[in-house]
Structure formats: structure tokens, C-alpha cells
Amino acid sequence: MLKIEKLETYYGNIQALKGIDIEVSEGEIVTLIGANGAGKTTTLMSISGVVPPRSGKILLNGEDITGKAPDEIVPMGLIQVPEGRRIFPDLTVSENLDMGAFLRKDDAQIKRDVEYVFELFPILSERRNQRGGTLSGGEQQMLAISRALMAKPRILLLDEPSLGLAPIIVQQIFDIVKKINEEQKTTVFLVEQNANLALKTAHKGYVMETGRITMADTCENLLKNDEVQKAYLGM
């Protein structure tokens, strides 16, 4: 579904991605783990077209999307929930959801999708007229995921959904991610620092270090791998 070949991205003269290869198949949950500053967020921003790569290729369902603008990529069904949630603070919960459906015109279906995300996260329904900036961290993460679902993702990119949240909320969010993957058949590409949880949720994993992919395997094998255990699982 998503195929990344020899991707290189720079910030000015600094090379953040040094030729990475990643493949995400339809229906899978694939995770990318790594320490702070490894280039995980850059990888997602390059895929979404916010930070265009200098070389390499990004294929979405076989179509080359390298160098395309974000507003061309979103309608193709590749949707990102960025790091730090990035809720529009002065828009209400409902308006934030509307923004997720910005490029859609099927108003009736949009309404049904709003009902669907309110079923997933009932708290958002209670807060629908509240400004996004007033929500708690966990509620904001729920809103961020819901806003992404409003765009009808075929593949969902999640950047550090566990960041700064209480463990019980993190579990709740990961359960929902699995549910979306199973019920909606949405492919998920999950970037996480919380390696333990990520590897237990996903099917396949990549390990990233300073702009390079150093390991790629099934999550089962990665959980058993000595290096991964030492460096990322604290064992």
C-alpha cells in the first residue's frame, strides 16, 4: 500500500533521513520505533508532503506521490495524526472534526461519520461545543484521531499518540487504533517511542537510528531481539 524507497530528506544542509526503505501492506499495522531525534517525525512529514524529500521515492498504491503537496495527498486517503496532536485551539470540537472533512463534499456521509467517532469517543460528544484548546491531553488525542478519521483514511499515520498521556488513556487509544484497523480495514503506520506498546500492537516493525533503518522484522521477532530489548525495552 505504502512503499518508501531510498528516501533522503534535508533541513537546510542537515540530512535527517539517510536513504530509508519502508513497506506497509494493506490492512497491516506497521510501527516505526526509535529514540528522540532519529528522524521518525521527519519520515512522516516527508510522506505527507509537508517537508519534501530531496531524493528517493514514495509510492502510495503504486502511484508516485513524491513531491506532491499535502492537499493533493490527503484526498488519496493518506492521513496523518501529527505529533503533539495539533488541535486547532480556537475551533470547537465539532469545528475541528469539520476541518478533518475539509476536502469532502458528501455532507450526509460526513454527518454519519461524526456520529461514528462520537461512538468511538463518547467524551467528545459531550464536549462538542467546547474549544479544542480547553480539552485535556487525552481528549485532544482522541479528537486528533477522530479528526483524521473524518478524512476517510485508507492509511493512517500516527505520530507518538502515547506522548504525555496517562497509561490508562494510552491503552484506551491503542485499543481504538486496533479496532479501527480491524473494523474499518484501515492500514496504520505507527510511530512510537513507547516501543513495548507499539511492538505489541503492530504486526511488523522498523527500528530507526539517526536517519537510518537499522532493523526490520515482525514484531514478534523484534520483541525477542537482544538489541531491541536492551535499547528500547529496558530489559
Binding site: 492537499d71 476541518m99 475539509f102
Partner: protein, 302 residues
């Protein structure tokens, strides 16, 4: 204290405030979206005034109804100024989008000087009379000592523009896109908003309202030259800062506060200090509310 004089000054202040508000909208919107003080914005207002002058001059011999001529001149001025605004963004600011903010600011000052001098060369530095096209409205006769026809038109037009503008920002698709972009540019891209188009539209709207202000004030004052945009631009900028730069209601509030301060200051104290009142008031407000009347305190990253 004479109450008629007070009302006259009050209405005078509202009139000034209206014009400032029409210009300040552009400053505050552009700042809200791309964090740039567009110093050439006052020049757009001036170009709007000149365009209306030229069009109405050209139409004067057609024998059309003066009111119709005024309306045509105003529409052409708005369209022409909007195209100036968009072009300005394309050539002076867009290439500097990723450059340090100071570079774009200097580019804005350069743009301002260029447009002023270009109109100076084309139109000379003399004040040009602006034709009186709007006939006196009969129902204003009883109150003509405190409010004349052009003042009335300025107030009504500004009110209508403000209402339309509010509806546009609140309820339309592009209005929502503008608000989202102002709040978080990267997230706006991630939901599929074409940020370049939003920025272009922001310049279009800001230039249009400034041009409306330019046409209105010209028909009120009756004369224009290449320099009117500079001082009006600075005042409207003051108004936008006073209200909290980036905030749309703030810009409107700041404009009326500034207009009234100037009007009462010149009316009760001395007209020699007109500009002093504006800037003294700005300084006082900023001492107590550094981010303006309705501005948000700047967030510190921790």
C-alpha cells in the same frame, strides 16, 4: 460642555475609526496568517483611491448618473487593488516565505516605497481633487451640522462590510480554512488545506476592504495624493496593534478607540497634536496590555 459639539466629535471619531478599521483588517489578517507586518498595505488603500479617481474622471463625460459612476469607480477600485495585493504577495513575500521574518519585513518596506514613488511619478505630488459624486441625502438635512452625507455613507458601508466579513470568516469554507491556517499552518496542510491559496485569498480580502476605505475617504475629504496611504497605513497599523495584532475583533475595536481618541483630542485639546494622541495612547495601552486590547499573550515554550 456643548452636547452638539460632543456628538459631532463622536461621529467624527466613528468615521475615522471606520476608515482605520477597513485598513486594519488587512494588517491583522495578514499578520495572523503569515506573521508579517505588510507595510505596503497603506499603499493599496492609496491605489484604491487613485483608481476610483481615474475611473470616475474617465466616466465623467459619459453623462451617467454620478451615483452610478461612483459605484462603478468603487467596484473597479476594489478589483484593481485586490489584484495589486495578490501580485504584491506573489513577487515580494512568497519567495521569502521560508526566509527570516526580517527579510520579508524589509521587502514590505521596499514595496511601500516603490508603490508610493510609482504613483508620485505617474500622478505628481500635488493633491488632486476627488469629484463630488454623491448627492446630499435629504433626510440628513436636519442633522447636517453634526453629520454630512459622506460620513453617513462611510458609517453604513463600514457596518455592512464588517457584517459580511464576519459571516465570511465564520461560516464559509474559505473562512474556516483561514481560521485554521492562522491557528496552525502545518495542521491546516495535513487536513488538505491549500495554504498558498488561503494566503492569496487573505491578501485579496484585505486589499479589497482597504480599497473600499480609500474610495470612501477620498469622497469625504475631496482630495488625494500619493502620500495618503502612508499616514493612514501607519494609523491603521497602530489601531491593529492597539487591539491586538492578529485579532480581527481587536483590529476593529482598536480602530474605533483610536478614531475617537483622535477626534476628542483634537476637538477638546488641540488639533496640532492629532498624531501625538494616537501614538501616546498606543504607548499607554501597550504598557498595561502588551499584547493589545484583545490580543492573546504570546505563549512561551517551556
Amino acid at each position: 460642555m456643548n452636547s452638539t459639539y460632543f456628538i459631532e466629535l463622536f461621529l467624527g471619531g466613528l468615521t475615522r475609526g471606520s476608515i482605520y478599521a477597513l485598513i486594519a483588517l488587512g494588517y491583522t489578517m495578514v499578520y495572523g496568517i503569515i506573521q508579517l507586518i505588510n507595510f505596503a498595505h497603506g499603499e493599496i488603500y492609496m491605489i484604491g483611491a487613485f483608481t476610483a479617481l481615474i475611473v470616475s474622471g474617465a466616466l465623467a463625460f459619459t453623462g451617467l448618473d454620478p451615483v452610478l459612476i461612483f459605484l462603478i469607480a468603487a467596484v473597479v477600485a476594489v478589483v484593481w487593488s485586490a489584484s495589486y495585493g495578490i501580485t504584491m504577495e506573489k513577487i515580494a513575500y512568497k519567495p521569502l516565505r521560508k526566509a527570516p521574518r526580517l527579510s520579508a519585513l524589509i521587502s514590505a518596506i521596499g514595496m511601500s516605497m516603490f508603490l508610493q514613488n510609482y504613483v508620485l511619478l505617474a500622478q505628481t505630488s500635488d493633491f488632486q481633487p476627488f469629484p463630488e459624486l454623491i448627492p446630499d441625502l435629504a433626510f440628513l438635512d436636519p442633522v447636517s451640522n453634526i453629520m454630512n452625507t459622506t460620513q453617513f455613507i462611510i458609517l453604513v458601508t463600514t457596518a455592512v462590510v464588517m457584517i459580511l466579513f464576519t459571516l465570511l470568516i465564520r461560516y464559509t469554507r474559505i473562512g474556516k480554512a483561514m481560521r485554521a491556517t492562522a491557528q496552525d499552518k502545518i495542521m491546516a496542510q495535513l487536513v488538505g488545506i491549500n495554504v498558498n491559496r488561503v494566503i492569496m485569498f487573505t491578501f485579496l480580502i484585505g486589499s479589497s476592504t482597504a480599497a473600499i476605505g480609500g474610495v470612501l475617504i477620498s469622497s469625504h475629504v475631496g482630495q488625494i495624493n500619493f502620500y495618503i496611504g502612508f499616514i493612514a497605513g501607519i494609523k491603521a497599523f497602530v489601531a491593529a496593534v492597539l487591539g491586538g495584532i492578529g485579532s480581527i475583533p481587536g483590529a476593529v475595536l482598536g480602530s474605533f478607540v483610536l478614531g475617537l481618541t483622535e477626534s476628542f483630542g483634537t476637538g477638546y485639546i488641540s488639533s496640532d497634536y492629532e498624531d501625538v494622541f494616537a501614538f501616546a495612547f498606543l504607548i499607554i495601552i501597550l504598557i498595561f496590555r502588551p499584547s493589545g486590547l484583545l490580543g492573546k499573550p504570546t505563549k512561551k515554550k517551556v
